[in-house]
């Protein structure tokens, strides 16, 4: 079963605009990660945020985590056509080592040139 859900399911924006997608999850977590997937191919790791962190940046990406609301958001600034992809959040409960990731249902992002 899926741990959480991404919102919206699909998003279309003009190139250059910012894209925000949200992820909600059900149980307490240790880490939350965001992945990108192009056209049903492999997943590319974007960013990891730990449960004791509230915000993290990586290039044009900004991730926030609110453990009280069991939610996270991914902001992509100044979007590019190459950002067109599906984006998934994944959570884990790892205490003693790398454990299984539980994925959400994904947001399909389309950047219109």
């Amino acid at each position: 079963s899926q741990q959480g859900e991404e919102d919206p399911q699909a998003l279309s924006i003009q190139e250059g605009e910012n894209a925000t997608m949200n992820c909600s999850y059900k149980t307490s977590i240790n880490n939350l990660q965001w992945y990108r997937q192009n056209s049903g191919r492999g997943l590319v790791h974007l960013i990891l945020i730990r449960s004791n962190e509230r915000e993290k940046h990586s290039g044009r990406l900004r991730v926030t985590l609110d453990t009280s609301k069991k939610s996270s958001s991914l902001l992509i600034t100044a979007s590019r056509a190459a950002d067109t992809a599906s984006y998934f959040c994944a959570t884990d409960h790892a205490n003693f080592g790398n454990e299984k990731l539980t994925f959400g249902t994904g947001t399909r992002l389309t950047i219109i040139p």
Partner: protein, 112 residues
């Protein structure tokens, strides 16, 4: 440094057959996890291998089995294939004491 590699890229089988998928982890990684991704869904965890032992298992039947070799590479075997087994199968490698999992390009399995 090669990332995670998987073979084959695509595979077509018929119901009742058996299939073996292969994965080579990223150099230096000791843990391999397998995921199944149905069309339009997020990946679902099948199992994880470390030191040639199954360390964790998701909610998949015994038809799904695996193996990890001394060089850390791994195989996923599925017996008695069903139409519902059609999916993208993803392998991810990591360090057991690390935090991020790195995914391969996947194997697209079609069961007819």
């Amino acid at each position: 440094d090669a990332g995670v590699t998987q073979s084959p890229t695509h595979l077509i089988k018929t119901r009742g057959q058996q299939v073996t998928l292969r994965c080579s982890p990223k150099s230096g990684h000791d843990t391999v996890s397998w995921y199944q991704q149905a069309l339009g869904q997020g990946p679902q965890f099948i199992f994880q291998y470390y030191e040639e032992e199954e360390r964790q298992r998701g909610n998949f039947p015994d038809r799904f089995s695996g193996h990890q070799f001394p060089n850390y590479s791994s195989e996923l075997n599925v017996n008695a294939l069903l139409l519902g087994d059609s999916a993208l199968y993803l392998c991810a490698s990591s360090l057991l004491r690390g935090s991020s999992q790195f995914f391969g390009p996947g194997t697209r399995l079609t069961v007819l």
